[in-house]
Amino acid sequence: MTDIDIHGGLIKQLQDAQAKFGYVSQHEVKRISKEFNIAESEIYGVITFYSQFRLKPLGKHTIKVCRGTACHVSGSLELVTEVRELLGLLDGEDTTKDLRFTLEEVACLGCCSLAPAVMINKDVFGKVNRDKLSKILESYK
């Protein structure tokens, strides 16, 4: 066990940093590197391995569209397209210009009986369709 393990491990440190700022900033990477004597390259290696970590600032609200099997057979791929349309996201973009929403596709939210499911921040919405979606997004404006 090294010093950082006593403090919950590197992943915990990165999760805390992300919880505080919404993303892992260069500044935080430098701080962790110094504090626990871990090479920055190693930290970036870990950050880029896990889908949870982000190196760019996040929108105010995070929309996670579930892409699990049950959601897939209930049309979640179209849902992604619809969210993109509703938010006006261009190809390759995942955050709106006003930093209000960030769109993420996640493997499975584990709410398969509610397929297709969408999670906004920490709230899960089930059996989402286009109409319901625009109403939900409206409430987060």
Binding site: L10, I11, Q15, A70, A107, G110, C112, S113
Partner: protein, 584 residues
Amino acid sequence: MSLAKIIVNMGTCGISSGSQKVLDSFRTLKDVEVKATSCVGLCALEPTAFIYIEGRVVGLSYLTDTQKDKESIQAICDGKDVDTHLAPRVIYDGSEQGLFNDLFKGQKRVVLRNAGWLDPMDINDYISVGGYSFLSKCRSAKISKEQVLDVLEKSGLRGRGGAGFPTAKKWRMLMEKISEEKYVICNGDEGDPGAFMDRSVLEGDPHSVIEGLQIAAYATGATKCFMYVRAEYPLALKTLNKAIKDANDKNVLHVPVEIREGAGAFVCGEETALIASIEGKRGMPRFRPPYPVESGLWGKPTIINNVETLAAVPWIMNNPGEYEKTGYANSKGTKVFALAGKIKRGGLVEIPFGMSLRELIFDVGKGIQNDKNFKAVQIGGPSGGCLPASLLDLRIDYEELKQSGAIVGSGGLVVMDESSCMVDIARFFLSFTTKESCGKCTFCRVGTKRMLETLEDIVNGRSNDDHLQRLYELSDAVSKLSLCGLGQTAPNPVITTLRYFIDEYHSHIKDKRCPAGVCSALTKYSIDEQKCVGCMLCKKECPVSAIVETKRADGKKICSIDSSKCISCGRCYKVCKFSSVLKR
């Protein structure tokens, strides 16, 4: 004593269906004890609440109209007749047994014994049903390690994470290791798309898992326990944190427990990758041997057990000789399945091994939504396979399912009807494994990518017979030449769909047609002139203005699709209220 008690099920699925409102509303009732618990497994019926009068369950309410329920319950509390007030929206034949027979028909609840009935935020609730009593016997040395291992061995419990390794054997190996520090890890990194057993157990009955983990620590002589749980499960984490704090405050724990949050990598369900992740590294699997039991977390002897396995342990210990009475052949006891997809009664069920798939889907799960035809069932997530209707009589058993090309796996079961395209499903799973491959082995990293590209060609109509040959070859290579389970089993969805649904591949390749009408590049839309009423709803909805207004021979205004502009998105098909958009 209060006249009535109401249990409101507040799992993730319940909350998102509005159970918070239901709970708040019931809490304003007079003379009624209202208790919030987690999911009871009836996810398809959420939000649900169980209503007790004078200590007896009298009904389950689906709660579509809270105000009405409130009035009914108040009326009952005031001494009015139960039947007239509750009957319309409850499953209720007058007896408690009747209610449960309907709800949990065919099930045997061991792991799910407490989920949905106990308040997961209240340790006293768990203690009141005998919780932590066995652990306390262990701690006061009334029961020896050998006795614990004996009971476990006789129970025949196998690891519920997917591989089915005998749990007692694993524990014994760790017990025999001599080391200053030894660890037991609970694997709650439930990454299979389509599976939510671990989430429900952690949300609903965290103390059973903790007690199971602690019994493991006692029997193996471990010095510390870790619980690795996905960060995507905020409610489970919240419940678990509270449970560990309460258990510490009550001083019921044998060794310390620490939670580590996963960071979103499917491969971390593999034990060596999970260990790397706890150590703060990239979660990449490594060669075994040495197995974790020899050199695991920080080089110390370690074992890893799944959430479901651990949750069964306290029950097995409290009921020695009972667990092995259910089950079939070498698969003893019960297994929790997450039923999802096009099934009527989706949710969490626990059934004895040996039940047929048909019974599970049509009796326990109540059949297919909208009474459509069953097409396939996907078992075991990205490592599992798709089985056709002709195999519905297979027994659910580790060995029997493996022969068919699917696996019991962690217990995700997604049912598909005729509207699902099996080639698309194979592509879906491959796109998942391609993304989640850690990149260590060439055959997994590049092989899955090539398989995905081949499948993309097929669903986009750019294929010929070579594509099938390539899929067979790649499947074989990837499964044989990958290091860990992720790569070895990644081709399973392709292999099983090729084996059981080869006709669909042929339609895509030879006829350039998707029989289910899912693959948009191979699906064409047109308008039935006789059925169209000219409402122009589809015209409004079309994103590329491919729908134009024309006139029928009799002069009636109707819609027509300009096929040169149509991108086959299917939106017109969905919005049409008169079934006049045809899919081919």
